[in-house]
Symmetry: C2
DNA sequence: TGCGCCATGTAACATGTTACATGATTAT
DNA sequence: ATAATCATGTAACATGTTACATGGCGCA
């Protein structure tokens, strides 16, 4: 359902093809919502049936024909309704935490190794966010207000990962102290 | 795939029925990994086929027969392999952020309303975590080391939500300042 | 010569949710 | 009375991933 409204939202700014939408997703939303082209084409076809979109086909000789989608009045209404409705907290699905829950079977160096690997991945993700942040906002935002909103969203990613990193470092520390205490 | 190993992990501590596993999930892992009974029964059947589990059927007259699952040697090996393998960062799927990204179509009070609703939900979730935390750990953990790991996992939930809450409050602030500036 | 971009799509599979179904027992 | 707990399952659907498929153009 979310994908549907995300697509509506982008098509509300301008008419686009499925391919364009795919690129926009990987240029912007990718890090807090991703979608493959399979999913996008499928969802667009459904929305067309539901009358939320209209389609214009552009004949091309060299490449496959383009299908440009635009939002309809009904689509606009549906988007507005969805936007105004409060969202529940997202369900958490955190594989790494599942692993740590069951990790008592492993020896301490292996656990610490898992945690350190996780830290490294967090650090490189953070770096990515920090460099992309301004770049993306400047490129796509169309007003001060929109820029503020987009910056906030990206900021959310950054603080979340910083927090996660702090947690992981603290956990490594605790693990080390536990095994030192055992050794004595 | 995660569900599979989560189930293996619990069955490694003690043999259990599908129903027991369901209850354990909702008593412990629920807030960072949830599963319905449909999924659990289905996955157990698959794992049995794959030889990761063995099954003992207990005849009952009053209630439906119990099927008690135990982990096999192969299951144990599979679990160890999975536990030692580092996990990628979890894909982020954050509906609320999608909504905020597209929220520029809404007027400021509506946006602030969305954010405040989100804050409230975060606060009540946090309260839940903080009260459940010790309780769960004390009840299920079988050693100091396990207790440490489980506490860390629950702590992760707490710091994550605290961080999210701070972000949301800051965003409300920023939104207010923006609209004040506009009014002037 | 081979790779990546453009632009679409399908098929098969994995995962997750909701609703339907049974039927006895125990607690309020 | 009625709701909840025990204990299993199926059917249908929604969502998400991977691999397969086409075919011209431009670049190294």
């Amino acid at each position: 359902v979310s994908l549907k409204y995300a697509l509506l939202g982008f098509l509300d700014m301008q008419p686009l093809t499925g391919y364009d939408l795919m690129k926009m997703f990987s240029a912007t939303v990718k890090y807090y919502w991703s979608a493959t082209h399979t999913q996008i084409y499928r969802t667009l076809a459904q929305m067309l049936e539901q009358g939320l979109l209209s389609q214009e086909i552009i004949q091309q000789t060299k490449n496959p024909n383009k299908k440009i989608y635009s939002i309809t009045e009904r689509g606009n209404q549906a988007l507005l309704d969805w936007l105004g409705t409060p969202e529940d907290l997202p369900p958490v699905r955190h594989k790494f935490l599942v692993k740590i829950t069951l990790a008592n079977k492993l020896d301490t160096p292996t656990i610490i190794n898992l945690l350190e690997n996780y830290c490294e991945k967090l650090r490189s993700r953070l770096e990515l966010y920090r460099t992309k942040n301004r770049e993306i906002t400047e490129k796509y935002a169309r007003s001060e207000r929109e820029k503020f909103l987009w910056n906030s969203v990206l900021e959310n990613g950054i603080v979340t990962y910083e927090c996660e990193l702090k947690w992981a470092e603290k956990t490594i520390d605790g693990m080390r102290r536990l095994s030192d205490a055992d050794a004595r």
